[in-house]
Symmetry: D2
Subunit: 141 residues, 4 copies
Amino acid sequence: MIEHEYTFRVMYSETDQMGTVHHSNYPKYYETARWELFRSIGLSYQSIEEMGYMLPVVDMKFKFLKTTQYDAILKVRTRLKAIKGPRIWFTYEIYNEKNELINSAETGLAFVKKSNWKPCIIPEFVSAQIEKHNVQKIINA
Amino acid sequence: MIEHEYTFRVMYSETDQMGTVHHSNYPKYYETARWELFRSIGLSYQSIEEMGYMLPVVDMKFKFLKTTQYDAILKVRTRLKAIKGPRIWFTYEIYNEKNELINSAETGLAFVKKSNWKPCIIPEFVSAQIEKHNVQKIINA
Amino acid sequence: MIEHEYTFRVMYSETDQMGTVHHSNYPKYYETARWELFRSIGLSYQSIEEMGYMLPVVDMKFKFLKTTQYDAILKVRTRLKAIKGPRIWFTYEIYNEKNELINSAETGLAFVKKSNWKPCIIPEFVSAQIEKHNVQKIINA
Amino acid sequence: MIEHEYTFRVMYSETDQMGTVHHSNYPKYYETARWELFRSIGLSYQSIEEMGYMLPVVDMKFKFLKTTQYDAILKVRTRLKAIKGPRIWFTYEIYNEKNELINSAETGLAFVKKSNWKPCIIPEFVSAQIEKHNVQKIINA
């Protein structure tokens, strides 16, 4: 299994009038976190698009466990959970500075061809890089 | 069951470099849609906060079925699905101009006191307004 | 001079922890307002991109005069101020429900070719549509 | 003069269908940059709000010189330009990885009391911290 940790600070523009982080920011945090996981194994999402593929989100779910606030330093623990055909799943947990779990999530994405948005099997150059990092077991898990 | 339809146009700032709507916008669309449902039965979310309550999102899930784009006119069909204790659930479907379902979602929210973020039973003035609209069956469903 | 009025309601996600609208939303409001002005004279911004052109913002300035809040209904008064070479300028004013001016702004944009981002003279099909609406005087003003 | 450099990476959600960064993100970048400048002299914006003050933006202007893109690492050079009465001005420049200037901006903010949004002179604990960093000359410049 591939795991990665990504740390960031909450921006003021991400707050809402409840004085917490607006829930629409979590998909953005997780998106950044999963491409940082990719970067950590030698893949950049930008280069995937440059190779003619895109990875739109197909499903996503979130649990909000604790509230957080402006200027908090949050840590995302991301796991590449499974790959099957064109699909790839990531799970995520966000921890606050006291190491309390504040949010957990799962997102499913699908490889599509940039030219026509048709789903396609995970490209060779992506799966090779994933396998190299000793995670054969997640493929077609 | 209370249902409501809310129609809006996709803004340019909501697009991303895939040329579609970035997935982080859907929580925003659904938030607006559920408070428009509330408005349609005589409740404004702003007045709920003014009465000392807030309704943070506790869980949310989304399925992305079809892509859409800038300037599309989209229709959200929102349903108040259930209420139990401090919790309230809404389901949503977004349709494009060809009446194709492009996204479906469910969100759970919890009534909390504004002063201390403690969960509390749905306030009387909210439940009364919901019951008035002939939807007793959803309460404690 | 071409003028247009566009009315919208402030979304919850646009608020920040000051309890007002975060200032980064104003460029989005004005963007929507100027393309609604274009729509009112028979031009859609989407069709401009489909014809091979884009209109990135080159400069923008804003004055914040009064604060506003969630759920407010705001009215943008947009004016096509001038066109010169590849450049086009719009001015804007936002009014609240009491008809008080809360924000004013000006944005300059430039026509560029989508293929190479090179600035180019305003396309014929755009200038023709603008002239038809009796605004010759703004061209090369 | 107080100067500060803040570096960040462009997120995917900040792109638009032009394939560049949507212009509404620049106010967010600059906001984060100016509070990082404050942090560098021992002031946190969050603590300013906790002390009963807020710093809404009063005017802002931006020049877009070069386009940028997803995943770029950008550097903001921020300067505290002047303070006068309740007002404080910052100037900013963003540089790309080739050290090319891609955007410049200026924002004016005003100290207001959190309780009533009334403008007020810069609080003692803020001006003391600024003076300590050898920038008396900017005060009432």
